[in-house]
Homo-oligomer: 308 residues x 2
């Protein structure tokens, strides 16, 4: 059942999932400039950063200030949801203190990946995340819970579908209806995507599904398309194809925001972010990071045909 | 109606559509080495080169010799179809003389592109190509006829679906049943792909459809997937993501062979080419051309999960 044509939400995670993997620390002012561009480009949902220990991920050390200053300045557009990733209760507290709209948190379906990434087993992580999620909801915040390595793991290989569904069921039983599946290793393929999201929607018809694919093996866009066919409404992507997870075996890149927006535009979806501003942003990011980014539109430009 | 699981044919066009766009002229010996790797990798269909004027496309000047020596040496595996691109009667004669198995020829659905590429209007090109195709068939050869710019044109923009179907109908009326649609400009999107190939198969249920997508705007793989859903059986791709058309407005890259083979393997298709040898070939090509190629598996390697 394909998503209706005006219901797609692009969740821009470049500032977090992109920048957390860059050696270079981007300044607060530069991030603020990029946020303003994302507002201008009409991104409906933007992940500003994560609340983690500044020693572990110094690239994210300014997340508290970014939120605080956005809320104080009044520069945040009313219809934009600003999200942040949290790993533990301390991160949640920091986020509540500086005005996050939506908390993103999750666990890995791969026990090995979970231990490497967080020091906790999957089961421990679930038992910790659910109370955090409930607390955030109780504070009137939006919450999205995720399952990472949902389609396979660089360490464990195949991840059984039932493992993912067991975690999702625990989320749903706790009243958590915004659920994201992340293809941390980049192993997903379309049939698997449709099968898994289909099963999730059988568990609860009120679930709001999100997907987070990596383009490591070239399947990022086709997996998004398969997710679209399966009723997924939220797509986590990164400008310029930035990003990946530093704790997986193989580095990878998120699906490129502007490349996916282009595809959805060609497919006839409306209410999408502004491609020209997005491209300008990615060019600016490439300059700032002083390296070539691998997005396709970044190299080719926006074809005139999108205006027809 | 999805293609049955053992019926996919990868038509490797890197030696032609890839190399014709490279400034560097690759030696005969090097091409012969790459051909042997393609044989070892079990590619069922390989486009060895094109028969064009050596002054116009010097990269293709050795095509006659390649075919002649392959046929003389007995090195060509029995179950491999060697194809070549021809633009005119002279090219066809050259190909018949040196033992081509399958002739590929076509026209552009965009009159502007046709004039720039060949000096002929679309209508002129069709009236010239069809007799050539019939002659090749009469000589006992396989023939594939194509429609380029089938999904849009860098010069004209939108190409009406009916324009493409009118050309296809002329092909079918002439008894030409192997038909390829080429997305020269890279503008195709999945719904359009499924619509167009669906309409073609309504015209004649015996048609064998091929697709040739470019990854210019990141939609190459998802378009292949859409084509697969539409009963397309032949996929024209290039190792290492090489190629494009020198006469379009925007340079582009073919869909990467190894990235598509990876996807089809994950989707459960059998009888596919050997990924490891393909990757070795692309690495060798990157070394020879002395530049980084943009295939995903080339950067990431083959994930262990493909062996599960």
């Amino acid at each position: 059942m394909q998503t209706v044509k005006n219901k797609i939400i692009i969740h821009e995670v470049g500032l977090r999932d992109g920048l957390q993997n860059e050696k270079q620390i981007v300044s607060l002012e530069k991030k603020q400039h990029w946020l303003e561009m994302l507002f201008a480009a009409r991104l409906p949902m933007i992940q500003v950063g994560s609340f983690v220990h500044p020693d572990k991920v110094p690239q994210m050390a300014d997340t508290d200030r970014l939120f605080a200053e956005l809320n104080a300045s009044g520069k945040k557009p009313k219809n934009v949801i600003l999200s942040a990733l949290v790993l533990n209760e301390k991160g949640l507290e920091r986020g509540l203190a500086c005005g996050v709209d939506m908390f993103c948190m999750g666990v890995s379906a791969s026990n090995t990946h979970s231990l490497k990434n967080t020091g906790m087993s999957t089961a421990e992580a679930v038992s910790r995340i659910i109370p955090m999620a409930k607390k955030a909801l109780a504070e009137g915040k939006k919450v999205q819970v995720s399952v990472q390595s949902a389609f396979g793991c660089g360490f464990e290989g195949r991840v059984p579908e039932q493992t993912v569904l067991d975690i999702v069921k625990q989320y749903l039983d706790a009243g958590l209806l915004s659920i994201s599946l992340a293809d941390t290793a980049g192993y997903a393929y379309p049939t698997q995507v449709m099968e898994l999201f289909g099963r999730i929607q059988e568990l609860d018809k009120n679930v709001e599904c999100a997907c987070h694919f990596h383009d490591t093996f070239g399947a990022g866009i086709v997996n998004c398309y398969a997710a679209l066919q399966s009723g997924v409404t939220v797509f986590e992507t990164a400008f310029g194809n930035l990003g990946g997870c530093p704790f997986t075996k193989i580095g990878s890149g998120n699906v490129c925001t502007e490349d996916l927006v282009y595809l959805f535009q060609r497919e006839g979806f409306s209410g999408l972010p502004d491609l020209e501003i997005l491209l300008q942003l990615s060019k600016d990011v490439a300059l700032e990071l002083n390296r070539e980014l691998s997005g396709r539109l970044l190299k080719a430009g926006i074809p005139a045909i999108v205006k027809e």
